[in-house]
């Protein structure tokens, strides 16, 4: 972007400044540390100048918002037209309780729903399964059959909201339930808007709610891609997630690298299943973490957008611009919240919100201050939502597109993250792609190393977390945390029993048998799952059929 001559001159000027000002100043005011590094361990220089972005070509590397390579954003006007979707992840106990929380959030000005399921649901067990004991309704809502889903969305018109569901291994089943609820409300599938997470690779890497082996899981995922491209065209069929990879302790660069490597694996699987890249790629969406290191995070989002655009265009030959646009949801970093002096978490979340917005997110969940201890209370959720509203309406950062572009530091950081992420992706390609790299434990080991290094830095106080390893105070135990009533488990068991009494058992058997045949063969499983759901087969019954045909994933334990 700069003339050679000017750069030469600048170089000399910088040397002069170094000698006259910095060296002299340092003897009187030494710097706080010998070396500065970002949260992710990236070296941070004292000063960035045009020299650091000398290679940058505006048109080629940044371009205009809404245009390739989308570094500056996926829409031309970004938040000047419409703010990001404020979408708080919520759900606990029963469908009835969660339905109340959703209506409260919509009343408070939230613009999209995000459903949290309990662990048995996420792993395809009904609430009356032995392994569900103690877990029912704890980290999300328990869904056992279509009956629960009908209650969950009671009074919420599905053509008016967009719904994101954090569901992976049994994503097809929950999507089928959503489609069935829509039908009952008179909303056809082509009018439904929302997202299923449906990202099994990161479950193997970091999050742990897998059921089936890799190949069979990839088949379920491509079945969903194919089905939705025809029947549910406005549905985001996957949310390829770096969030949990980062929570597991990865660096910002690893978050980008491993997420996009997973993305590549899904695209390859779908192409291998015979789908045209432009038929499904526009519905791929992403999910990232927003950490405290504000500028590194902004650069991370920008780098991810540019790198994905290039991958889709150059590696997969996508033609449709929508296939090249990396659209993403963001959640603030749960792992940065401290159990100590929890009010400080509100400030952390505000910084992370800024990072996500300056990075051009399409939707955002802000964590509540009490989440290092328990599920959030209604009051703390409101503060979290208000944090987004303050950034949107009061901070001014949403009024111009990609305001940090052109910062010598941010551009140089964006470049550097993109380059390092690409090196990781090449390494993963060498190992045979993301599924193979996961099987070999490579990705898990890389994350573990980062996570352990970070922990050691904290303990040596090379990194300060306010209130945790510095500025501590004596604290009283926190009161008023949200508690899930243990009675929920019995309530769900009773509901399952009632549902089973009132349904047509023969029909259920017939539908499950048909699903089994489809799973054994090569038919798309989605229509068969939908039929079984409508007959009120339970989630556990459907997943058991698939377990029988597909088997179960065996984790490779890496420490």
């Amino acid at each position: 972007m700069y003339e050679k001559e000017k750069l030469e001159q600048l170089k000399k000027e910088k040397q002069r400044w170094q000698k006259e000002k910095v060296d002299k100043g340092l003897s009187r005011f030494p710097e706080r540390k010998e070396a500065f590094t970002s949260t992710s361990g990236r070296d941070v220089e004292r000063l960035y100048t045009p020299e650091d972005v000398a290679e940058l070509d505006y048109q080629e590397d940044l371009g205009f918002p809404g245009e390739y390579p989308y570094t500056r954003g996926v829409q031309p006007t970004m938040y000047r037209s419409r703010f990001w979707t404020m979408r708080q992840y919520a759900g606990f106990a029963t469908a009835e309780e969660s339905n109340k929380r959703y209506k409260y959030l919509l009343d408070q000005g939230q613009t999209g729903l995000s459903v949290a399921f309990d662990l048995p649901t996420q792993i395809g067990y009904d609430s009356d399964h032995e392994l569900a004991q103690g877990e029912v309704g704890k980290v999300g809502v328990a869904i056992d059959s279509l009956k629960d889903m009908e209650i969950l969305f009671d009074g919420i018109p599905l053509d008016k909201v967009s719904t994101s569901m954090t569901i992976n291994a049994p994503a097809a089943v929950l999507l089928a339930m959503y489609i069935a609820v829509g039908e009952k409300q008179g909303v056809s599938a082509d009018k439904l808007r929302g997202t299923i997470q449906n990202d099994i690779l990161k479950e193997y890497i970091a999050r742990g709610t897998y059921i089936f082996p890799t190949e069979e899981s990839m088949r379920l995922i491509t079945d969903i891609f194919a089905y939705c491209s025809k029947e549910v065209p406005n549905w985001n069929t996957i949310s390829i997630s770096g969030y949990h990879i980062r929570e597991a302790g990865s660096s910002a660069t690893q978050e980008v690298a491993f997420t996009l490597a997973d993305g590549i694996a899904y695209v390859e699987a779908a192409i291998k299943a015979g789908l045209d890249v432009d038929s499904f790629a526009p519905r791929l969406s992403f999910f990232f973490n927003s950490h405290n290191d504000l500028l590194e995070e902004v650069a991370k989002f920008r780098a991810a957008r540019r790198l994905w655009a290039k991958i889709m265009k150059e590696r997969f030959g996508a033609k449709n611009p929508k296939s090249m646009q990396l659209k993403f949801h963001t959640q603030t970093a749960g792992s940065t919240l401290t159990a100590q002096q929890p009010d400080n978490n509100i400030v952390r979340v505000a910084i992370q919100t800024l990072a996500a917005v300056l990075g051009g997110t399409q939707s955002l969940h802000t964590n509540s201050k009490d989440e290092a201890m328990a599920l959030p209370t209604e009051d703390s959720v409101r503060v979290a939502l208000r944090t987004q509203q303050v950034v949107a309406h009061e901070s001014g950062v949403a009024d111009t597109v990609d305001p940090l572009a052109g910062s010598f530091y941010v551009e140089s950081l964006t470049d550097s993250i993109e380059k390092t992420a690409l090196e990781y992706i090449e390494k993963i390609d060498e190992l045979g792609g993301a599924p193979a790299a996961i099987e070999q434990g490579y990705i898990q080991k890389e994350i573990m190393d980062s996570s352990y290094n970070y922990q050691k830095e904290l303990e040596k106080e090379e990194r300060i977390v306010v209130g945790m390893n510095k500025f501590q105070v004596e604290e009283k135990p926190i009161e008023g945390l949200l508690k899930v009533d243990p009675k929920v488990e019995q309530l769900q068991r009773d509901k399952i029993a009632k549902t089973k009494e009132s349904r047509d058992e023969n029909l259920v058997k017939e539908k499950l048998e048909a699903l089994k045949k489809a799973a054994e063969g090569t038919d798309n499983t989605m229509p068969f799952i939908l039929e079984a759901v409508k007959a009120y087969a339970t989630l556990g019954e459907i997943c058991d059929v698939l377990r029988e045909v597909f088997g179960e994933y065996q984790q490779s334990v890496v420490i």
Binding site: Q133, G134, E135, Q340, E459, V465, V557
Partner: protein
């Protein structure tokens, strides 16, 4: 120093958050202990059986799903039934609200380490409180 302290790091229940479990496993290993990590989704029976088979001095369980009040006491009960509770120091860590800690201690969990605990604190606690 005679033979090293043997620790089983376990993940009871269904939650997949194992960053803490893995960090503590490495930290204990770096402190000279022998560490076995179970991996995810272990039932109370599996954990108790592994603890016996591996002949461990310490059982350190990490749980973030909120199911601690059900699962942890169940595991202690089973250890007692197998007659090994008197030999194994039983610890827990993870997202466990302050309110629940006393109840867990009454049920036989010897210490509960909540988020932000330096790994060194856990190491010291183990060294001072071994049962055999």
């Amino acid at each position: 120093m005679d033979k090293p302290i043997r620790v089983l790091v376990a993940k009871p229940g269904l939650d997949g958050h194992d960053r803490g479990a893995k960090v503590i496993a490495r930290a204990l290993r770096d402190a000279g202990m022998e560490v076995v990590y179970t991996g995810l989704r272990q039932t109370p029976d599996q954990i108790v059986q592994t603890a016996i088979q591996e002949d461990v001095d310490v059982l350190a369980m990490s749980i973030l799903s909120g199911a601690h009040n059900h699962l942890l006491p169940t595991i202690v009960e089973k250890l007692k039934k197998e007659g090994v509770y008197d030999e194994v120091l039983v610890l827990a860590g993870g997202v466990i609200p302050d309110d629940d800690i006393q109840g867990l201690k009454d049920a036989g969990i010897e210490a509960v380490f909540t988020p932000g605990t330096p790994t060194g604190v856990t190491v010291e606690f183990i060294k001072k409180n071994l049962k055999k």
